[in-house]
Symmetry: C2
Subunit: 564 residues, 2 copies
């Protein structure tokens, strides 16, 4: 693909991807602002573009084509009332379940609502009639922009056509140059997948369709990994079976239900977050394939390592949760079913590959055991054996979820780990743990930091009134510990940082415990934590934020020494 | 007006009111669902209706008429994509500041989104392009329905034309009969004001325009009252001057700044909420005119007494806050300026009228003094003299605002009373009082019930961190005391009522005080309350909900005996 200029190149990548996804028809209406969209659609091989002057008419022409072919049709118009003229057809498409891709050009934000002309508020213009709306945004030229536009095109087509089909609205703020005047851009930045396939293919076939596509993608790859995140259903046994069949390690997020339990855990790697912080290990273990299941784990080191890999995702709800934007295949089936089907076909694998992961994983508990008191990562490790069978553990953001992901060991006893994996807020942790206890009909444990606990101080009253049996372990480092790990801690004015970011509070947790009608216990060591959680209480573990950052770095260094 | 049938009569009232408000042009498009709107607009004397088949064209015809005349133009269409066809003209009207009244017919809720045909989601259809959107709703035939539609028409015209003009969207769900088939309805129910004036006239003239309209409305009325609610600016002195000039009592909401202060308080009535609970007093004091200033007070007895009165409102921001829907004149000017202009013109008045209010008002402190310990209404009365000059008092919903309105005396010392007068929630009271203290740069007092205090338990941490100096008086009756005053208390299952409505909690307020770093003091009598608020603390006043209801009723009975 020869990119024309900074405005056209993203549109070219987008439209190229529409064609790869099977869009065969487009309807254009004239305009200057949407000239890039109209001209690129007109030039695109594989897409037949028809020009209709009146946008209202254009919208209904698109509806007619889509009704006749059953496939998504793109329709583009310029900014202003032109876009409002598409509303009748969008409303009809919503009610009649017709897949439309409505591509409105818009003025960029600095020219909106200031009388710049031909500008109306196009954000969410079609309200509930649009199945999905996305403001495409303004972007610098480069590879990330190409990936954004390619992925967006695939998502728009799959969303318009999937489930109950309907109209999808993408609003493109376009800046000069609006004319196809050539600029010198690097063509390699803008390419799609070299085999001509879509950036992301969505496989929705029920039954074996998804498994077949995955099997083809797996091919004969020996150096693969399976990354299991939170997903509906019980997938521990089939995930373990597939890992064994392929000889791939199973990187198991605590929320996946795969890290712990009575299933075959011989391929489970619990401490991937730590291992992938060890540069030599991460570089020496580049995978040929990554099969992700469910939600992406939180681990930053894992996400960084995944960038640029060949990924497929088993995602039953087609959430498009792929911050790496690398997944080329999304299988929409049930994880347990698909994993079992793939495992049943057997495989092969290189025993040395999984063994090197297994050996490295064992280094982390060794390093943890050597770590001095005061390291927060030791708390989840101490907690795991102290919890009852099938315990319900709610884990607060931001540090506790990271520490649990990094340090919670793999054990044969089942453990249900829950967290705010949606929007990752620190809010409502006590209330959510209360709800989990009420919903499951058994006691719950909450592992939280002090800021999250204070944020939901009123939740202690809710828990008490509701009669939920809660044991709270609060890592109290007098503020938001995660911020000490971030560049802001060093770069900001120290006093402003403490007051407005770290937010030490000076609250005595004994007072919070009293409010919740809970015993208050202070635990200094991992052993004391384990002993303190046997009965409902607020267990306070006091640590020091700066010291914890130092101990975390020291532990990763020690693991680097221990890794074979 | 001869009402046609249950569907047409409200539309007739609405359209009649459009004509009274000066709408002279309408554009109709054909349809069955909007036949009532189109046919009534066509028949309305004073309105010229033009028929345009295509709704998109109709919208632009309306824009053209409005641009040429400068006056609001009504445009109506049937349900479904017809309404979406108006979107381009609505967008143009928003950007060009053109007053449009977009009257879309819709299917009623039970026929929406179920494939009933010609139905799309019309709620908020034009998004941010509409200056105001209102779902008109379905209503039983009767006087209240007529008032709703008449008031709505006035509001729609004033909103479209006022400030920066623009399009207003009203969505009319219409049920059968859609044809003008006569039914037997009482014509009196549907009439507008007999003199042909609009239900509500909005006077926006700067300077003396509003005062002239108000002066004409006041006429020679002797038995008038002024009701002062919360409003921007300082209006105590001009309000007092107008009350003196007219010989009208000044019913002063604590939030108005008129109840207390160094101004002339000779006409101030503080305890109107109690007096108007005395049936004989309320019936014997029906006013000829009610001049309201600012927000309506909370008092239910006042609101009930205002129903059916001849009202005008000085409302600088044209909020349309008139739950009685009786106001016939809204003056949009600055309260202090308008009140001073009216006061300057002098007046007359019947000395016996204001004297009877004044004497009755004096009965309430007498009855309060006789009331036994445990009556919550005595707390605001005790608090007022104990607060520092110019104190900042945040008052929580639901009972404290009512008790303050009913029992806070009128004193010469200024007192700033604030409350959640917007949405009247019990949430965030500690945080809001904290913000008031920070914003005013001086300590604040908070009068709250226990449920509101517990609701914002975390606010105690915010207050402490922010260094706000708070004194909290908490009336702790172990639950939501207001509910005991409501029919639900007697009508519901007693156990479910306590658990799910009254919500006693068993929390020791000493624990909350500790959380906020506040001293905890228990005060049993009004005198002890007065003594306890001298320095920052959480002052707990324990009462009994059921006993308080009894004492409240007894107090009103005693006032009834004492009122001359």
């Amino acid at each position: 693909m020869q990119p024309i200029n900074r405005t056209y190149a993203p549109v070219q990548a987008f439209v190229d991807e529409l064609a790869r996804c099977g869009v065969r028809h487009a309807v254009t209406s004239p305009g200057s602002r949407n000239a890039p969209l109209a001209l690129v659609l007109a030039e695109q091989p594989g897409i037949e573009a028809v020009s209709v002057i009146d946008e209202r008419s254009a919208g209904f022409v698109a509806v007619g084509i889509a009704r006749a072919t059953g496939a998504p049709v793109a329709v583009t118009c310029t900014s202003g009332t032109a876009a409002a003229n598409l509303h009748p057809a969008v409303a009809e498409a919503r009610e009649a379940s017709v897949p439309l891709l409505v591509l409105t050009a818009d003025r960029p934000p600095e020219l909106r609502d200031v009388g710049a002309g031909q500008s109306i508020d196009q954000l969410g213009l079609y309200g509930s009639a649009a199945k999905w709306f996305h403001e495409v945004g303004g972007h610098e030229p480069g590879r990330a922009t190409a990936v954004h536009h390619r992925g967006l095109a695939c998502r728009a087509v799959a969303t318009a056509a999937g489930g109950r089909p309907g109209p999808v609205h993408l609003n493109f703020p376009l800046r000069e140059p609006l004319a196809p005047r050539p600029e010198d851009l690097d063509a390699a930045d803008w390419e799609g997948r070299p085999d001509g396939s879509p950036w992301v293919a969505v496989e929705r076939e029920p039954g074996a369709g998804g498994a077949a596509a995955l099997r083809e993608w797996i091919g004969g790859a020996e150096r693969g990994v399976i990354v299991c995140g939170e997903a509906p259903g019980e997938m521990a046994a089939p995930a373990a079976a597939l890992a064994a069949a392929l000889g791939w390690p199973l990187l198991a997020d605590p929320a996946s239900g795969v890290r712990s339990g009575p299933h075959d855990r011989s391929h489970v790697v619990a401490h991937y977050d730590v291992l992938l912080r060890v540069e030599a290990f991460a570089a020496g273990h580049r995978p040929e394939r990554v099969l992700r299941v469910g939600e992406p784990p939180v681990s930053q080191s894992l996400r960084a390592w995944l960038a640029g890999t060949d990924q497929a995702v088993i995602d039953p709800r087609v959430t498009w949760h792929d911050p790496t934007r690398e997944a080329r295949l999304v299988a929409a089936g049930d994880p347990a079913t698909l994993l079992a089907e793939l495992a049943g076909e057997g495989g092969g694998g290189d025993p040395a590959w999984v063994e090197s992961w297994r050996a490295a994983d064992a280094a982390v508990p060794r390093a943890l055991a050597e770590s001095p008191a005061g390291f927060e990562g030791a708390i989840p490790a101490a907690l795991a054996p102290a919890l009852p069978d099938d315990a319900l553990l709610w884990v607060a953001h931001s540090m506790p979820v990271r520490d649990v992901e990094a340090f919670l060991p793999s054990t044969p006893r089942p453990l249900r780990v829950l967290a705010a994996r949606g929007a990752n807020g620190i809010d409502g942790v006590v209330s959510a743990a209360t709800g989990a206890a009420l919903g499951a009909g058994r006691p719950a444990h909450l592992l939280t930091g002090d800021v999250a606990l204070l944020h939901d101080a009123g939740g202690l009253i809710s828990a008490r009134r509701a009669g939920a049996e809660l044991t709270i372990v609060c890592v109290n480092n007098g503020g938001g510990g995660i911020f000490d790990f971030l560049p802001v801690a060093a770069a900001a004015d120290a006093s402003a940082y403490e007051r407005h970011v770290a937010t030490p509070h000076g609250v005595d947790l004994a007072e919070l415990a009293a409010l919740g009608g809970l015993a208050h216990r202070v635990a200094a060591t991992p052993e004391e934590v384990a002993g303190a959680v046997a009965t409902p209480a607020l267990v306070e573990v006091r640590t020091d934020r700066a010291e914890n950052v130092r101990l975390h770095a020291a532990l990763v260094e020690r693991v680097a020494e221990l890794v074979p």
